[in-house]
């Protein structure tokens, strides 16, 4: 579905990605994980054409991303960021239908899709009339997800979508997201720095460090056959509740 071939990218003097080759499988959930600044968000931004590679090629649905096709390609990609990136001047409804309205969808089709999505992300209908400032963090992410899904894209990119939420809300939303990914059966790429979250969502985990891919595989493969010591350290650095409980005992 998405291919990065020999992609390098630097911002000024700092190298964000160096010679990356990455294939994202269709209808699977791939999680990009790694410490801050490892380049995982840059990969998402490359896939949406928000940044251009210095070297190498980015192919989405078999097409190389270029100025000529970037607007079309973006309409087949849903993109959700931390904090949602909602437009403060539009109510939830306005945010979700912004693109459909630009594409002049008929009113009934727009309304049908809106309600369908509200149900999918479990957002109460009356919240659709609220402005982002009147919604909680979790509700904002649900609206943001609706906006990303409005045009029924093939690909869904999520950049730390749960990063700014408190643990309870985060837990509920994780469950919902996983259900949604399963129901929609789309190609999903999710960026996180939380190993438990990665393990929870991923069909495939891509562990990154300093602009390079360290290991790509299932969580089991990463635990049982780590590519190097960093993989083990990174996994062990994130303690699970049973561990914490065990230590106290």
């Amino acid at each position: 579905m998405i291919h990065l071939l020999g992609v390098s990218k630097s911002y000024g003097d700092s190298l964000a990605l160096s010679q990356i080759d990455l294939q994202i499988d269709s209808r699977r959930t791939t999680v990009l994980i790694g410490p801050s600044g490892c380049g995982k968000s840059t990969i998402l931004r490359l896939m949406t054409g928000l940044v251009r590679p210095d070297e190498g090629r980015v192919l989405v649905r078999g097409e190389e991303l270029a100025a000529a096709n970037v607007l079309t390609v973006r309409r087949h990609i849903g993109y959700v960021i931390q904090e949602g990136g909602l437009f403060a001047h539009l109510a939830a409804r306005g945010n979700v239908v912004l693109m459909a309205r630009y594409l002049k969808w008929p009113r009934e089709r727009m309304e049908r899709r809106l309600l369908e999505l509200a149900e999918l992300v479990r957002l109460p209908r009356d919240l659709l009339e609220r402005y982002p400032a009147e919604l909680s963090g979790g509700q904002r992410q649900r609206v943001s997800l609706m906006r990303a899904l409005m045009l029924d894209p093939d690909v869904l990119l999520l950049d730390e979508p749960l990063g700014a939420l408190d643990p309870m809300v985060r837990h509920d939303l994780q469950e919902d997201l996983k259900r949604i990914f399963r129901e929609l059966n789309k190609t999903v790429v999710l960026v996180t720095h939380d190993m438990a979250e990665a393990a929870f969502f991923a069909d495939t985990i891509v562990l990154m460090r300093d602009g390079a891919i360290v290991q790509r595989g299932t969580i089991r493969e990463l635990i049982e056959r780590p590519a190097d010591e960093f993989v083990t350290r990174f996994i062990n650095a994130q303690r699970s509740p049973p561990e914490l409980a065990g230590r106290r005992a």
Binding site: Y79, G85, F87, Y102
Partner: protein, 522 residues
């Protein structure tokens, strides 16, 4: 009396505004804004046939003479408008060359030494010949002369035993406060200093009227004045003798466009009837009537016509509320048209400035530079193209309004969080749609605040319209300054302040209507 001083403004003298103010017919048309300015500029350059526009400069003697010519012209069957209190010789002269005005009272010394400076012109015959080459005629002298002089307080002069300008050389610590025009003119302070070898260091430029008051209260010692000024008596001043005969004679005359003889022969006959009819003593008493006794200039003029020429002039008076209404409407039009035009240009400029940072620096630098140009200088720059009146006033206000709106548009757009901007990009919206549907609405509060700032500044600055005969609240301020009449100054200043407050309130209200609730919640 006082011929060629700064006396910069134009306006209704105290209680009897001239009702007509040329140009009122085309104001509503032009209220649309930018592109229309050009059309109006074209319209304003062609005088109406048969209609005569008299102008006066912003000092009492000139206004009285303008009123005399206006009333006498009307009496003799001409259709005459008086544009009062225009902002200085340069404005009036250029406006006459352009045909915005047809006639105004002037002084021969000013013509030879200032208007036609550097051409070595001597004597009336030569002045007449040179003026004729530019399509301007000059009447014979009206009967009184007026000339520059230096004055001091009588008690102070006595104490220091100063009688002549040469005596000033003995007192180097004297503080000189000259009218700005005298300070700058070639025939003013620079040549006087050279002729008398005056070495005083403490020399400041002031408004002529303020200089009198400064002299009276002792914050300056010497000022320039004119030999027919009413204030000489009022403030107990002495005129220092021009012992080296430095200052040239200034005979009062009327200048008028040569084509007036064809367009309105009655009017030319009218001003020719004034030749040799105004004695110096008569002029001083008329100046004193207007300045000291606060008789409206139009009444002073009517009295003169009745007493001297046995003609009944017709002063036309309007009540306080009538005047206030007329000025408010003028002011609203100046501010409204200029603001509208500025919005139309400044928002796109702000968008460009935000989108292309390097171009943006040039744009912001330019509008900031424009903002720093003093209003008088700006009006002088525009004089050859736009002349006087409503159009250049709106053009100046328009230019001054650009900075706050461009600045706030740019800042509002640049202030949008990168994540939000990227979200809009990632949706697949093309750049123009992003700007219209996301960026501009998000920057809306900032843009509106910029427009609000521009509006409030504009209401204050629009008082400069009076400098060039565009009316508005500046008129009573100018007249009040000229006549040292505080209530009259307040008649302009207070409504201007109230209008600024009102604008402030209206924009708060507009914010509630035009800014989506979602942006006001944060």
């Amino acid at each position: 009396m006082m011929p060629p001083t700064l006396k910069a403004f134009g306006g209704f003298p105290s209680p009897q505004p001239s009702p007509e103010q040329e140009g009122s017919k085309r104001r509503p048309i032009a209220a649309v804004g930018g592109a229309v300015l050009i059309l109006v500029a074209l319209l304003s350059s062609c005088s109406r046939r048969g209609h005569v526009t008299v102008a006066s400069k912003a000092f009492t003697e000139s206004v009285i003479l303008g009123d005399i010519a206006t009333q006498l012209g009307r009496q003799m069957g001409a259709e005459v408008t008086h544009r009062r209190e225009l902002g200085g010789t340069r404005f009036v002269w250029e406006a006459m060359l352009r045909g915005d005005i047809d006639a105004y009272p002037e002084y021969t010394g000013t013509i030879s030494n200032e208007i036609l400076a550097g051409q070595g012109i001597m004597g009336d015959a030569q002045i007449r010949r040179v003026l004729a080459g530019r399509g301007i005629e000059m009447t014979r002298p009206l009967g009184f002369g007026d000339s520059y002089a230096l004055g001091m307080r009588e008690d102070e002069a006595k104490r220091l035993r100063i009688h002549t300008i040469s005596d000033l050389r003995r007192h180097l610590d004297l503080r000189f406060g000259f009218s700005n025009e005298f300070l700058a003119r070639a025939d003013g302070w620079p040549s006087l200093r050279e002729a008398y070898r005056l070495a005083q260091k403490n020399v400041t430029g002031l408004d002529h009227e303020i200089a009198y008051r400064a002299l009276a209260e002792g914050s300056i010692d010497v000022t320039d004045l004119y030999s027919t000024d009413a204030e000489i008596e009022l403030y107990h001043l002495v005129v220092l003798e021009d012992d080296l005969h430095h200052f040239p004679a200034y005979d009062a005359v009327f200048l008028y466009r040569a084509d007036l003889a064809r367009r309105s022969p009655q009017f030319v006959d009218a001003i020719k009837r004034l030749e040799g009819r105004i004695a110096p003593s008569k002029m001083i008493s008329m100046n004193a009537d207007a300045k000291v006794r606060r008789v409206p200039e139009a009444t002073v003029a009517a009295d003169f016509l009745r007493d001297t020429l046995d003609v009944s002039g017709r002063p036309i008076a309007a009540g306080f509320w009538g005047r206030l209404g007329a000025r408010t409407w003028e002011h609203v039009q100046l501010v409204g048209a200029s603001l509208l035009a500025a919005i139309v240009l400044a928002i796109p400029l702000g968008v460009v400035a935000a989108s292309f940072p390097r171009v943006g620096q040039v744009i912001l630098g330019t509008v900031a530079a424009i903002y720093t140009i003093p209003s008088l200088a700006l009006l002088v720059f525009m004089l050859p193209k736009l002349g006087i009146g409503w159009t250049p006033a709106v053009a100046a206000l328009f230019l001054y309004s650009l900075l706050p709106i461009v600045r706030n548009t740019q800042a509002g757009l640049r202030g949008i969080a990168p994540a939000v901007r990227e979200s809009a990009q990632a949706l697949g919206l093309p750049p123009a749609a992003r700007m219209l549907r996301v960026d501009l609405p998000l920057a809306g509060p900032s843009i509106l605040a910029g427009i609000q700032t521009a509006a409030v500044l504009n209401i204050g600055t629009a008082t400069l319209g009076a400098l060039i005969g565009a009316g508005g609240y500046g008129q009573p301020i100018v007249t009040g300054l000229r006549l040292n009449d505080t209530p009259l100054i307040l008649e302009g200043a207070v409504p201007a302040a109230l209008m600024a407050l009102l604008a402030q309130g209206l924009f708060e209200l507009a914010g509630r209507v035009f800014i989506p609730r979602g942006l006001r919640l944060q």
